[in-house]
């Protein structure tokens, strides 16, 4: 066990994966000498060389497109997208190639590509630096999408993503990079919980609160605050966003009868809609109230002085919990 930051844990996971498999190569803008703008790849080019930690020209479509070619050649590319908002130039290669090549070639060609995306807001950055584009990818068949919320998961799940023969989008909550936590680097990957499983963070009996990535700590805090008011909240960290591990959520909702989902991405068409719809399908007769979504608004990411009004925070989550509980002191209007 060692204590390390979130960012350091990803770095350690990358290093481990590179040590164990010479076919693992990292690609991206500024990931070499600089170690990436967030220093996640710090020191790796120095230790593994420029042919394994590849500083690429400034072109995201090419990063993903050449990763496809490298995968054809037997490599396992790990592509860094510098910020969430810069993934769109690569969208075509991700959606039409990375996601579909295994299907297209009837399983002959595998695409073990990992796409690392620092995502989400809360760091006071200008436009395009705080987006939550995960729903575009969870709706794209052929991809797997995961997000991590703590250093231990960051460390193990980056390795699991790289080990996956399917392409994986790995969403890193950038505002948590400096959070510290215990990481067991000796953990046997095959014994670690699969990256496809959800995790119960806090047990509870009144409301199920589902989230992922940056809002997991916020949700945990909300559960503590709610317990002061006598509401017992069960917090679930999705970890895998596509596919979602519905079983534990289903079990939880059957117990609590109430569901709140929170994410930073815009509400309409966001992942919350899928979770609400799927859980309603699975637990309709157990639900005491409609699933509640506490999310970012349907707006472009706002200027940083306004971001606190866009991002769900503890109060807004508690408000959502109140809504789910049908509590009259709920501050916001009840839907419907």
């Amino acid at each position: 066990m060692s204590t390390m930051t979130f960012g350091r844990a990803i770095n350690a996971g990358l290093r481990k994966a590179m040590e164990e498999d010479p076919k693992v190569v990292l690609m991206g803008e500024d990931i070499g000498k600089l170690g990436g703008v967030f220093r996640i790849t710090d020191g790796l080019q120095k230790d593994f060389g420029g042919h394994r930690v590849i500083d690429t020209p400034l072109a995201e479509s090419a990063i993903l497109g050449t990763a496809v070619g490298l995968a054809y050649r037997g490599y396992r590319p790990v592509c860094e997208i510098q910020f969430d908002g810069f993934i769109y130039p690569a969208f075509d290669q991700i959606v039409c190639q990375v996601a579909k090549l295994h299907y297209r070639t009837q399983g002959k060609v595998r695409m073990p590509i990992t796409i690392r995306v620092p995502f989400g807001g809360g760091i006071g950055s200008p436009e395009h630096h705080s987006e939550s584009p995960e729903a575009y990818f969870t709706h794209t068949s052929g991809l797997r999408v995961i997000s991590v919320s703590n250093p231990q998961d960051a460390y193990t799940m980056i390795q699991q993503a790289i080990a996956s023969d399917d392409p994986v989008l790995y969403f890193e909550p950038k505002r948590r990079y400096h959070t510290k936590g215990e990481v067991d680097e000796s953990l046997d990957l095959s014994l670690a919980p699969s990256m496809e499983t959800a995790r119960i963070v806090t047990q509870g009996t009144d409301v199920t609160l589902v989230t992922y990535g940056p809002l997991v700590p916020t949700a945990r805090d909300a559960a503590v605050a709610a317990s002061d008011e006598g509401i017992s909240v069960e917090v679930i960290d999705l970890r895998s966003l596509a596919p979602i591990d519905f079983a534990p959520i289903e079990a939880s909702v059957r117990k609590t009868g109430r569901l709140v989902i929170t994410h930073e991405a815009a509400q309409s068409g966001g992942l919350g809609a899928e979770i609400a719809a799927s859980l309603t399908e699975r637990c309709f007769n157990y639900l005491e109230s409609a699933p509640v979504r506490v999310t970012g608004f349907d707006i472009p990411y706002p200027p940083s002085k306004l971001e606190s009004h866009h991002l769900p925070d503890l109060d807004r989550i508690l408000d959502g919990v109140d809504r789910a509980m049908g509590r009259p002191n709920s501050l916001s209007g009840l839907e419907g």
Binding site: L64, G65, D92, R110, G142
Partner: protein, 379 residues
């Protein structure tokens, strides 16, 4: 006046593209022209090999015609003809080594033939049976790419892999004149140049991108494009199988010896429609077709063989027999292709189980089963 004033600084020589000669080794009339730089690269081509190239071109034209017939007869949903581009595809395809890797568009069925593809595999996609026909690793050729230009990046990445492996093979990307306008193709050149990757950009300028003439994509020769990326470029008569063979060999040799990427523009012509769904009479002049018919890639090799006394009746019969046999084999393969099973729709989306899809598969399987069990027909 302005243009003149800024002439030299603006690099007017390249602006007009006058530098780049279009290399020809066989004239449209079938004469063998000499070219000091290209000749050495085809000096080893024996008469038998020349005859082989001729046969190849006849065969792939026959494949193309047969497939077009199959489409008209309703056996294929669609077919993208290569008519007119035989020399470009055979000249380049035959230059490749087995361990080179091809990334092509939808039109390179002649290249696939060179790679030894199973004939039935060629038409699987166009019959609607599968999203692709063959195992890329069996013939070292990716299955056809439909997204214009995307494959050029794949070829570049593959070449970066070759380089990392210390191998001396090469990757080759085939694409059209229209594709050169796509960001991906230009980014591929940036990466290839930056990493000096052993990749060949093989552009078949067939003068059309569906209804758009090449002049809409570029008013300077397409071969010029690569120079601005620091990639050497060759421009050849794409209806001249020897010139194409030589250019591809030059580029391959450069790739194998650490010389990095090469761009080849093969100037040819799409004699047919874009696909069997297209009607070129809406947008192009019949005269243009006539002009190009006079530059037919097969006729000129036939004339060359004739001048060497090689175009015997036996040869012609043998070639025709081969072409017919190939066409027959393909037709039989096509017609006998069993339809895919309904549940195949779920196969191979992922390489390991996926809970979302598994659930949908189970539900749909139960749903389908319902039709057979509910035989009295609730609906």
């Amino acid at each position: 006046m302005l243009r003149n004033e800024t002439g030299p600084a603006a690099g007017s020589r390249n602006e007009r593209g006058q530098d780049l000669e279009t290399v020809q080794l066989i004239s449209a009339a079938g004469e063998r022209l000499s070219h000091p730089e290209f000749d050495p690269w085809v000096a080893d081509v024996t008469e038998a090999q020349l005859t082989g190239l001729y046969e190849d071109m006849v065969v792939i034209r026959r494949i193309d015609t047969e497939a077009t017939h199959l489409q008209r007869q309703g056996e294929l949903a669609l077919w993208p003809p290569l008519l007119g581009q035989e020399a470009s595809q055979i000249g380049s395809g035959r230059a490749l080594r087995e361990d080179d890797f091809v990334f092509s568009s939808y039109r390179e069925n002649g290249v696939a033939y060179c790679r030894g593809v199973d004939l039935t595999d060629i038409i699987r996609v166009w019959r609607g049976n599968a999203s692709s026909g063959w195992d890329p690793f069996e013939i070292n050729m990716a299955t056809p790419q439909v997204i214009i230009g995307a494959q050029t990046l794949h070829a570049t990445g593959y070449a970066m892999g070759i380089q990392n492996d210390g191998a001396d093979s090469a990757a080759i990307a085939y694409f059209g004149d229209g594709a050169t306008s796509q960001g991906d193709v230009n980014e591929a050149m940036v990466f290839a140049a930056s990493f000096q990757a052993p990749v060949i950009f093989f552009c078949q300028n067939n003068h059309w991108a569906i209804s758009e003439p090449v002049g809409l994509q570029s008013h300077v020769p397409i071969a010029n494009r690569a120079l601005g990326f620091g990639i050497p470029s060759l421009r050849v008569d794409g209806n001249d199988v020897l010139a194409v063979l030589a250019a591809t060999r030059i580029a391959l040799e450069r790739a194998r010896t650490g010389g990095g990427p090469t761009f080849i523009e093969a100037v040819t012509y799409r004699m047919g429609p874009h696909t069997t769904a297209d009607d070129p009479s809406r947008y192009r002049d019949a005269n243009e077709l006539e002009d190009w018919a006079a530059k037919d890639p097969i006729a000129r090799v036939a004339a060359l063989l004739q001048s060497k006394g090689l175009l015997t009746t036996e040869l012609q019969d043998a070639v025709q027999a081969k072409a017919d046999a190939v066409a027959k084999e393909m037709r039989a393969g096509c017609i006998n292709l069993p339809d895919p099973a309904p549940m195949d729709v779920f196969a191979n989306v992922y390489s390991t189980p996926n809970s979302w899809l598994d659930r949908q598969r189970e539900n749909y399987s139960r749903y389908l089963a319902g039709f057979s069990t509910a035989s009295e027909g609730g609906k």
